[in-house]
C-alpha cells in the first residue's frame, strides 16, 4: 500500500487563554510513498498548525481537536491514530517514523552540542540496539548523504561553524537519520538565499526519490511549489480551498483564491508604461567603500578590514527605481545605510542633487535628511511601538518646519494616510494594532511625510505575504511615477525586481558585478554570478511539464 499518512477532516483550535480560535478547519489530505504534497498559503492560513497537529507538537492544554483524525500507515500497523495519542507513542513516531525540518536553521540546532552529539541523541532514542561504533558510522553516512563536505571531520564541530545552508543540511540529517518513511518540512528554505535554496531543494527532491519517502512540504512560495511538489493544496483561513496535481492547480487554478494568489505574484502583475528617466542624477555614488575593522588579540589591534562595501558606484535618477539585488551578506544593506549617512563610509563620495554629502557633520546633515528617506525591512520594528501614529508622522514635520501649526500638520498626515491607502483613524492608533502590511504602509507614510526626493527601500516586502506585497509594490510604483521620486530598492526577490524596477544592479561580495536596464539584464545576463543567481530563482513558469 502506498499510503503513508492520512489526515481526515482535521480541526485544530488554539487558545490565547480566553478564546478558542479555529486555526485548522476540516483539512483532509493523504501522503503517498514517493510523493511530495505541498501545502501553500499565506501566513496565518494554518499550514504550520496542520503540521504541528500531526506531530503533536502544539502547546499543551492550549489546543484541542474537536474533530478529525490523523492515521499513520506502515508495515507493522495499518492506521495507527496519532491525534490524542500519548507522549510515549508520539515520541517513538517523532523522528523515528516521521522526520521534521523547521524553517529557521539558525535556531533549530542546539548551539552547545556538536553536530555528532545531536545526531547521536536521536539515534540512541530510536535505535537503542545500535553500538556506539555503528551509530557513529551511520552519522557519517547520513551527513555524507546530505552532502556536508568532509563529513568525518565536520561531525565534531559546533553549529556556529556552519553556514545557514549547511545547518539546514544538518537539520535534514537529523530528520533522516532514523530513515523515516515520512518527512514534514515547514518552510525549510525560506530563510536561505536563492542559490542555497536551489541546492537544498534539489537535494530534498533527490533524497526523497531515492528513499521513496512521502513528504509534506509547507511553503508560501509558488516558485518553490513548482519546483518540488507532486500534489499541491492551497490553504486559506484553515481550510483547504483547492487540492490537486501541481500542473493542474498552477496552470488552471479553479478556486478564485488560488487565482488571486497567483495573479498577485510580482512577475504576474501588469506593468505600466513608464516615462524615460530624466538625465540629471538625483543621487550619485562614486567608489563608495565601507570597511569594518577586524580586531584581534589583547590590545584589540586592527589586523584586517572586512570590506562590506568595496568600491561601489551607482546613480539614481528622479522618477526611476533602481533595484539592488544580492544574497544575504553581500553588503547591500550596508551600502544603503552608508548612502543615508547612517554608517560612516570609509572612502568614496555620495552626492545628493549635486551636493557632496560624504563629509557633512551630523548638524549640517540634519536639514538635508528631509530629501532622502528610508523604509526598512522588518514591519515589527519599523515604527516606534510607544508612540501613536500621529506623533510618529507629525514630529518630523515639526522639526523640519513643514506646516505652520500642528492642526495643519495633522491634516497633512491624514491626507498622506489616504495616499498610502490607510484609514484616517489610524492616526490615533499604536503600531501593535496593525498587521505587517499595514505597518509597512505606515512606514512609507512616515518616509513621505518630509516630501523626500529619494527613498531607500530595504527589503520592505520580504516579510509580507504575496497579496499584501502586490498592493505595496503597486503603491510604490505609483508614488515614483506620479511624484518623480528616485528610489533605491534593495531586494533579493527577482519577481519584485522585474515588476518594480527600471534598472537593476547586482551586488556580490561588496562589489557591483552588473548594472543595466532590468529587462536587458534579466534577458541576457553578462556576468557569471548574475546568471547563477537567475538560474537559482524558483519560477512558476519554468515548471517542468
Amino acid at each position: 500500500m502506498s499510503q503513508l499518512l492520512e489526515i481526515r477532516d482535521l480541526v485544530t483550535e488554539l487558545s490565547d487563554g480566553e478564546h478558542w480560535m479555529r486555526a485548522v478547519d476540516g483539512v483532509s489530505l493523504d501522503i503517498h510513498r514517493g510523493e511530495t504534497f505541498c501545502l501553500v498559503g499565506e501566513s496565518g492560513s494554518g499550514k504550520s498548525v496542520t503540521a504541528l497537529s500531526v506531530m503533536g507538537l502544539l502547546p499543551y492544554a492550549r489546543h484541542r481537536h474537536p474533530a478529525g483524525e490523523v492515521r499513520l500507515y506502515d508495515a507493522a500497523q495499518a492506521g495507527m491514530p496519532l491525534l490524542g495519542a500519548d507522549d510515549a507513542v508520539l515520541s517513538g513516531v517523532r523522528g523515528g517514523r516521521i522526520g521534521m525540518i523547521f524553517q529557521e536553521p539558525m535556531t533549530s540546532l542546539n548551539p552547545v552540542m556538536t553536530i555528532a552529539e545531536q545526531l547521536d541523541e536521536v539515534l540512541q532514542l530510536h535505535r537503542p540496539e545500535l553500538e556506539a561504533e555503528a551509530r557513529s558510522e551511520r552519522i557519517r553516512a547520513v551527513l555524507e548523504e546530505v552532502r556536508i563536505p568532509d563529513a568525518a571531520s565536520r561531525m565534531r564541530e559546533y553549529p556556529h561553524r556552519l553556514s545557514g545552508g549547511q545547518r539546514q543540511r544538518v537539520m535534514m540529517a537529523l530528520a533522516l537519520i532514523c530513515a523515516p518513511a515520512r518527512l514534514i518540512a515547514d518552510e525549510p528554505t525560506t530563510a536561505l538565499d536563492v542559490t542555497v535554496q536551489a541546492e537544498i531543494l534539489r537535494l530534498m527532491r533527490e533524497l526523497q526519490q531515492r528513499r521513496g519517502m512521502g513528504m509534506l512540504f509547507i511553503t508560501h512560495d509558488f516558485g518553490v511549489v513548482a519546483k518540488i511538489a507532486d500534489t499541491v493544496g492551497v490553504m486559506r483561513r484553515g481550510k483547504l480551498v483547492e487540492c490537486g496535481p501541481v500542473a493542474e492547480v498552477l496552470r488552471r487554478p479553479q478556486h478564485e483564491y488560488t487565482q488571486s494568489l497567483i495573479a498577485a505574484l510580482p512577475e504576474r502583475l501588469a506593468r505600466l508604461a513608464r516615462g524615460e528617466a530624466r538625465p540629471q542624477p538625483l543621487v550619485e555614488v562614486r567608489d563608495l567603500a565601507v570597511h569594518f575593522p577586524v580586531r584581534r588579540g589583547l590590545l584589540r589591534r586592527v589586523v584586517d578590514h572586512f570590506r562590506a562595501v568595496d568600491g561601489v558606484s551607482l546613480d539614481v535618477h528622479p522618477g526611476e527605481v533602481l533595484a539592488l539585488v544580492g544574497e544575504s551578506g553581500c553588503g547591500k544593506t550596508t551600502l544603503g545605510r552608508a548612502l543615508l549617512r547612517l554608517i560612516e563610509p570609509t572612502a568614496g563620495t555620495i552626492a545628493l542633487q549635486g551636493q557632496d554629502i560624504t563629509h557633512l557633520s551630523s548638524n549640517d546633515m540634519r536639514p538635508l535628511r528631509r530629501r532622502m528617506q528610508v523604509v526598512f525591512q522588518d514591519p515589527g520594528s519599523s515604527l516606534n511601538p510607544r508612540l501613536p501614529i500621529a506623533t510618529t508622522l507629525i514630529e518630523p514635520m515639526r522639526v523640519h518646519g513643514i506646516g505652520a501649526h500642528d492642526d495643519e500638520r495633522r491634516a497633512r498626515a491624514a491626507a498622506l494616510l489616504e495616499r498610502v491607502e490607510m484609514p484616517p483613524d489610524s492616526l490615533w492608533r499604536y503600531p501593535h494594532e496593525f498587521s505587517g502590511g499595514q505597518r509597512q504602509r505606515l512606514a512609507i507614510a512616515r518616509a513621505l511625510v518630509l516630501e523626500p526626493r529619494f527613498i531607500l527601500c530595504d527589503e520592505i516586502t520580504s516579510a509580507l505575504d504575496v497579496s499584501v506585497q502586490a498592493g505595496i509594490l503597486k503603491l510604490l510604483r505609483r508614488l515614483v511615477d506620479e511624484e518623480g521620486l528616485g528610489m533605491l530598492f534593495i531586494t533579493h526577490n527577482m519577481g519584485v525586481v522585474e515588476y518594480l524596477s527600471d534598472r537593476m544592479a547586482v551586488m556580490h561580495a561588496g562589489k557591483l558585478v552588473e548594472t543595466g536596464r532590468t529587462a536587458e539584464v534579466l534577458a541576457d545576463p553578462q556576468h557569471e554570478y548574475t546568471r547563477k543567481l537567475l538560474a537559482a530563482v524558483p519560477r512558476l513558469d519554468a515548471m517542468a511539464a
Binding site: S15, G17, E42, S43, G44, P59, Y60, A61, R62, R337, L340, L342, M365, R366, P367, L368, R369, R370, M372, Q373, V374, V375, F376, Q377, D378, S381, S382, L383, N384, P385, R386, L387, P388, E395, P396, V399, H400, W428, R429, Y430, E433, F434, S435, G436, G437, Q438, A443, R446, A447, L450, D465, S467, V468, G471
Partner: protein
Amino acid sequence: MTEQTVNLKPSRPWSAQVLGALLLRTTARLGLAWIAVLVLVAAFAPFLANSHPLLLVVDGETRFPAFAHLQAADYTWLAGLVLAVVAWRLRGPVFLRFAGWFAAVAVVGGLAWMTVSPPSLVIYEQYRELEAAGRVDSIVRAPIPYSAKDYLRDYGDTGIEAPLAGRDGRTHWFGTEDSGADVAARMIEATRIALGIGFIATGIALVIGTIIGGLMGYFAGVVDIIGMRLVEIFEAIPTLFLLLTFVAFFGRSIWMMMIIIGITSWSGYARYVRAEFLRLREQDFVQAAIASGLPLQSILFRHMLPNGVAPLLVAASFGVASAILAETTLSFLGLGLVDDPSWGQLLNQAVQSSTFNWWLAVFPGGAIFLTVFAYNLVGEALRDAVDPHTQRRGKRA
C-alpha cells in the same frame, strides 16, 4: 496576518496596558494596597498620632492646636498626596504628569519651608495638664493621642512598657519604647522616612543611571568604555561602609543618607539602560528617526528611552526595597537619625535592654518586612506585566 483580518481594538497607550496587566495580578494588588496604606498614613500622620488635640475648647475659647503645630513637612506631604490625585485625574503623557507633580510638590514644599512657622517651643504636656485642671470644655483627639516625640515627661519616669500595660489610664496599643514615647506614634511618623528614603534615593539613582547609561548605550565606543569603568568604580564602593564613614564625619542627616544611597546604587540602572540602548540603537525605527533628521534629545528621550524603560521600572521597585533596608540597617546599628523615629531604630531597642521586648521587634519588624515584601511583589508583577513572553494572569497552561 492578512490585512483584512486585523482586529481593531480601541487604542491604549503602553503605560495603560502595563498598568492594566499589573492590576490583573493579585500579588501586585496586595503590594500596591500596602504601599497605598503607607502613603495615606504618611500623609495624614499628624492627624493619626498627635499629642496636640485636633480641636480644643478651653475656657470657652476654641483652638485647633494640631493644625497650629503642622510643620512644613506635613504641608508638603499633604500637598503631595492631593497633587498626586490631581495628576492622576489629568490627561496627558505619564512622564509629563509625573514631572508636573514633582515640580508642584517642590514649589509647595519650598513655599511651606519659607512661610509656615509653627511654635518653636512644643509643650505636649499642656493639654493633659489643662484637662487635669478641669478647664477643658470639649476636646477631640487624634486616634493615637501621643506624638512621636512626646516622651510623656509629665507621667514621671515611664520608660519601656509592653502593649496595653500603661498605667495612669494611658493606652499604648504597641507599647512604648526606651524613652517612653508611644511606639505606634513613632511607627506612623517613621513611614515618612521609609517612603521618602525609598523614593528619593531610588529617584537619584534612576536619574544618574539613565543619563550615564543612555549616553554609554547611544554613543558606544570610547564613551561606553569610560562609562563602564565609572560604573565599575561605583560598584566597588560598599554603600553601608560609605554611609558609616559619612555619618562618623558629618553627623546624621536623612538627606545625606538618601544622596549616598542614591549615588552608590545607580550603576545597576546604568547597566540596564546601556544594554537596552545598545539594542535599540540598531532598531529600524531609531534608524528611521535619525534618517528623518530628528534632534538628539528627541531620539534619546522620545524614541529610545520609553522603549527601554521596562527593565528599569522592575529594577527600581526592587531598588526602593533595598534603599529602605539600607536605612533600616543603619538605624538598627544605632547610626541612624538621633531623635527622629525610624523602624530600624525601634527594632534596635528590642534587643538593647536586658530583656527582649517583643513588641519592639514584632511591630516595626513586621512593618519593614511587609513594606519590602510589598515592593518586591510589585517588582515581580511588573516584570511579568512588561514581559510579553509571560502569559496573562501569570497562569501557565
